[in-house]
Structures are given as C-alpha cells and as structure tokens.
C-alpha cells in the first residue's frame, strides 16, 4: 500500500507534479503496481551458479569528429552563445 506522503516524495524525486492528477486513482494504481512488483519477494532464492562474467568491450579513446555546437543546440528551447539556457526565477543571463 502506497501512502499519499510516499507518492508525493517519489513524484518529487521523479520531477513530476501531482497537480491536476486524480490523487485517489493514481494512489490506487500505484498501490496495485507496487503489490504486483512485490511478487518478486516470494520467488524462491536459488543457490548461485556464478559463471565467468563477459568483459565489457572497449574501444580506443581517440578524439574523433563530433557534432558542431549549432547541431547540439538545434533543439534547445533557448541558447546563449554556445550554451544551453535554463530559465527560471532567480536565474538570469550574465551580462
């Protein structure tokens, strides 16, 4: 069972707003989803058969051509020279 306080905490961590949500419905859905996920706790614990782990392949760390700043910034909501611009209260562009 998920409480509203827990839901608020999780939503804040996930950067989601609960404003405008049907809180009762969402709580019910989240409680059902968590109860569903909780089935993993009932799985029998098996003795481990650890095999050798496959190593991660690596590639040489060499500088290569990359995207230009204009391409990288093409979808930015706002930019300032070659930087992404994040706007919000108290955040201003340095003159």
């Amino acid at each position: 069972m998920v409480t509203y306080e827990e839901l608020k905490k999780i939503a804040a961590l996930a950067k989601l707003s609960l404003e405008g949500e049907d809180a009762e419905k969402l709580l019910d859905e989240m409680s059902n989803m968590v109860a569903f996920a909780d089935q993993v706790s009932r799985a029998p614990v098996r003795e481990r058969r650890e095999g050798p782990r496959e190593p991660s392949p690596l590639r040489p760390d060499e500088a290569r051509p990359s995207l230009s700043p204009d391409e990288v910034l093409q979808n930015a909501h706002e930019r300032s020279e070659n930087f992404f611009l994040a706007r919000g209260k108290g955040l201003t562009v340095a003159e």
Binding site: D38, L67, Q74, F84
Partner: protein, 484 residues
C-alpha cells in the same frame, strides 16, 4: 501480402520503376492511414529521393541488393536526422534528431525506401499501441481491435499493405506481440545483434531493434541488413547473416514445451499453438518436455527492471536541451516538473513513478536487487532448457488482439506480456509467426525462442512451418497495396 522478393523481381525486370512503386505505396498509405493510424509521419520527400537513386542504379544495369528499393516503415523511436522523431510523445512532438540511428543509416545506405515513421505506444511503453499521443494504431484485421504494442504502427502498416516490411523495437515483446496480433512475422534478435545507437532509450539492457515482415524469408533478409557490430554501441556484438542459411528441414531438431507458458490461454490460442506443435512433430522434430520455473516471477521482475531503467533514461527530458518546455513556471525546479508532467502521458508517468519507487532508498534491495537476482535465474532457466532442446515453443501472447480499451487497469495490461518478457530478460532471440486464427478470425502468434545468436534455428523452424502449412496463415487484411 507483397514480399520483398516480389518487389525486387519487378524492379529488376523493369516491370515497375521504384518511383512508381513508391508513389503507389505513399498514395495507399495516405488513404489507409485514416483507418488504421499506422504512420505518425509520412516521409514522401525522403522516399522519392531514395526511389530515384534506385531507378538510376537499375538504369545503369546494376544488380539490386535484397532490400534495395523496397518501401518500409520505421518505428518512430528510431532517430532520423532532420526528420521528426516523436516517440509518440508530446515531449518530442517537434523533435528533429541531429544524427541518424545506426539501423537507419545501414538501411538507407543499402537503398531502402522509408515511407514514414510508425506509430507506437509512447516511449515504447505499452502492449496495445493505445498509449500514443497521436491516437492508437488499429488492427487491419478488425478496426475495433488494437494493433498490439508497442510497435503497433509498424505491424499495422505491414499487415495493412502500406509497407512491405517494418522496423520495430522490442523491450518486453514490442515486436512479437503486435506481429502476433496483426498476423505477420516479428523477430526480436539476440541482445547485441543489432546496434541500438539512435534508438531512443526505454530500458537499455532490454531494448533491441528487429524486423516485422509478411513472411520468414523477409524477416531474415531485413535482419541481415541491420545486424552488425557498431563501435558506437558498446553493447553491440553483431551477428552472422542468416537468410542464405535457412532450411525448412527440421528433422531431428528438439523442440521444448514448458507447461508454465500454457496457463491462462484463450481457447483459440491454445488450439492453434497445439496444432502447430503437432505440425512440427509431423515434420520430424522431436517434442520434449521441459520446465521454466521462473516464468511467474518474470513479469514483476521485468516491470521492476524496465521501469527502473526508464526512470533513469527519461530523466534527460528537462525542457532545456530538447523536447517540450512548459510555458509558465515559478523557478527552475517548477519548470522541469511542469515540462515533464505536461510532456509525458499517463502510462509513462506511472512507469517513471514505479521505477523511482523501486530505486529509492529503503526499497532498492527489496525490489531492484531481487529483480536482478531473478534476472540471473531466468537466464539460468533458459540455459537449462537449451541443454535439452534446440528451441522453446510457446504462444506469443495468451490471447489474440484485444478490443480497444479492454484493459481495466495498468497491471491487468501487463499480463499480456507474460510469454514475451523472459526473452528480453535473458537477451535471447525469439520470433513470432502466425499459426492460426481464433473463433473471431483473429490471428494467433506462435513464439519460437532460441539460444543466444542462433537466429538461424528459430527462423528455419518458422520457415518450415510456413512451407508445411503452405503459407495459409499469412493472410492479407485486404487493404492497402494488395497487388503490384
């Protein structure tokens, strides 16, 4: 349904130019899309440009490669430089990638003709294709039913005759399940066989790109065109091409049947799958009993892993670098929260919340760590199974295509994926092929699961079934381009 080999023959014999073919498909796509909503974006200009190049090659007397000049649909979570890639989300409604996905690059360089970007569940999260910001894709066999998800647009376009083949992605069944619902062939390759570079991430340890096609040979040809090692995707290993190595002779192959996969099936699915098993027996395959004890726990383990990875992967959508941005806000934190709440649909928000929950302090061990332990157990179950047989035979889904809005709750909807998720958890390959129809005439999917990097065996088995049943289950929905 039109096959790749039909198109290649007509183009090579100059009975039809690639431009004429492409214009025909685009015209049909515009008409048929009103009914089935398979495409989010049609890419006429790109398609005709590619077709013109193919015609020039034919005029020079050069031989066409297997997929050259063949019109296809690309799922809209695969990046196409300069062509909007929405992921079926308001968040990316106007997003134009600045680089190409490796799969799109490989197809384009081989002369493939992209007709458009396929509809899907938002961020590939869903089993019905109903969670699309652009409205759901409909099933060409019955417009009151869903196409399946999440690659529902690609499946509906192929079954609806407005693409010869499709490219989808499969995180928990998103190629195989819509293929089953729409009566076509869908291959989820081994994890690492196909590059994921440029695939917009949902759950990176589970996502894999693969083909949807009207027959096994087409699925194999497309797999050959897209498989390969990519130095820009550190999880890619590449794979050997398979289309030249398929054989319909299955004598002596051992096929495993695990009873866990046969619980809670609809009557139509059970009957069709059991008949298919008898077909394999008659063809000389040996049917062996195996068990898969972790199946009941695979589904919750999958949803924990997938949602945890999604909550992390989707953290990048903050309204600053790309994507939707809220209009009014009090401060930076408020801007990010409003952007994400407005930009993501309800199912995506639910999965992010569940993922954040299972990763949060106090719950990490109970949920995420347990799911990771189960991941090893599921993989071990496959290893045990494949000491006794060459492929595992299961239904693709417990039911045929659902009616629109049939699921009562999110958790009920997750149960559609019970037969497909273990495949992604273990990273093994699986193909879904049509093996019959239920009492309402809706297609039933048969799933063949193989050893890692053994696409050849499962596609050979799929081909053997098609030949033995004379392709009678590869049924056209009677719309779109039905003849050339």
């Amino acid at each position: 349904m039109i096959r790749i080999a039909d198109v290649t023959r007509l183009l090579s014999e100059k009975k039809l130019s690639c431009r004429e073919l492409t214009e025909k498909y685009l015209a049909e796509a515009k008409k048929t899309n009103d009914a089935i909503n398979a495409y989010i974006t049609l890419t006429d200009e790109e398609a005709l440009r590619a077709a013109t190049k193919v015609d020039a090659k034919i005029a020079r007397g050069e031989k066409l490669s297997p997929i050259e000049g063949v019109p296809f649909v690309l799922k809209d979570n695969i990046s196409t430089r300069g062509i909007r890639t929405t992921c079926a989300s308001r968040m990316l409604e106007h997003y134009e990638p600045v680089y190409d996905a490796e799969v799109w690059r490989a197809l384009r360089d081989k002369g493939a003709v992209m007709l458009g970007k396929g509809n899907m569940d938002e961020f590939a999260m869903g089993s019905t294709c109903e969670h699309s910001y652009f409205g759901g894709a409909k099933n060409p066999h019955d417009l009151n039913r869903v196409a399946g998800g999440s690659s529902g647009g690609s499946a509906a376009a192929v079954a609806g005759g407005i693409a010869v083949y499709g490219i989808g992605s499969d995180t928990g069944g998103s190629i195989r399940e819509p293929a089953a619902f729409c009566g076509i062939v869908g291959l989820k390759p081994t994890y690492g066989a196909v590059s994921r570079r440029g695939l917009i991430a949902f759950a990176s340890s589970l996502d894999q790109i693969g083909p949807l096609a009207s027959c096994t040979e087409d699925a194999a040809l497309v797999f050959d065109a897209i498989c390969g090692k990519d130095p820009m995707d550190m999880t890619s290993r590449g794979a050997e091409p398979v289309s030249d190595r398929l054989t319909p002779d299955v004598r002596g192959l051992k096929l495993g049947i695990a009873p866990e996969f046969f619980e809670n099936l609809s009557d139509g699915v059970r009957e069709a799958v059991e008949r298919a098993i008898e077909t394999y027996r008659a063809l000389g395959a040996e049917i062996v009993d195996v068990s898969f004890p972790t199946l009941p726990y695979s589904l919750p383990a999958y949803y924990i892993l997938a949602c945890a990875e999604a909550s992390s992967n989707l953290g990048r959508y903050d309204g600053i670098r790309y994507g939707h941005c809220a209009e009014s806000f009090a401060d930076l934190d408020d801007m990010i929260c409003k952007t994400r709440t407005e930009g993501f649909g309800a199912e995506v928000r639910r999965r992010i919340l569940l993922g954040t929950y299972v990763l949060s302090a106090g719950y990490f061990d109970a949920y995420y760590k347990s799911a990771q332990r189960l991941r090893r157990d599921v993989t071990a179950d496959f290893e045990d199974v494949f000491t006794k047989c060459d492929a595992l035979v299961t239904p693709t889904a417990p039911m045929t295509a659902l009616r629109a809005k049939q699921h009562a709750s999110p958790v009920e909807a997750y149960h559609t994926d019970i037969c497909t998720v273990p495949v992604n958890i273990a990273g093994v390959p699986a193909v879904s092929l049509p093996c019959g129809a239920d009492g309402d005439g809706m297609p039933v999917g048969l799933q063949l699961i193989g050893r890692r990097f053994d696409e050849r065996t499962i596609l050979s088995l799929s081909l053997a079934f098609e030949r033995a049943t004379e392709g009678r289950y590869l049924v056209s929905a009677g719309m779109g381009v039905t003849e050339l």
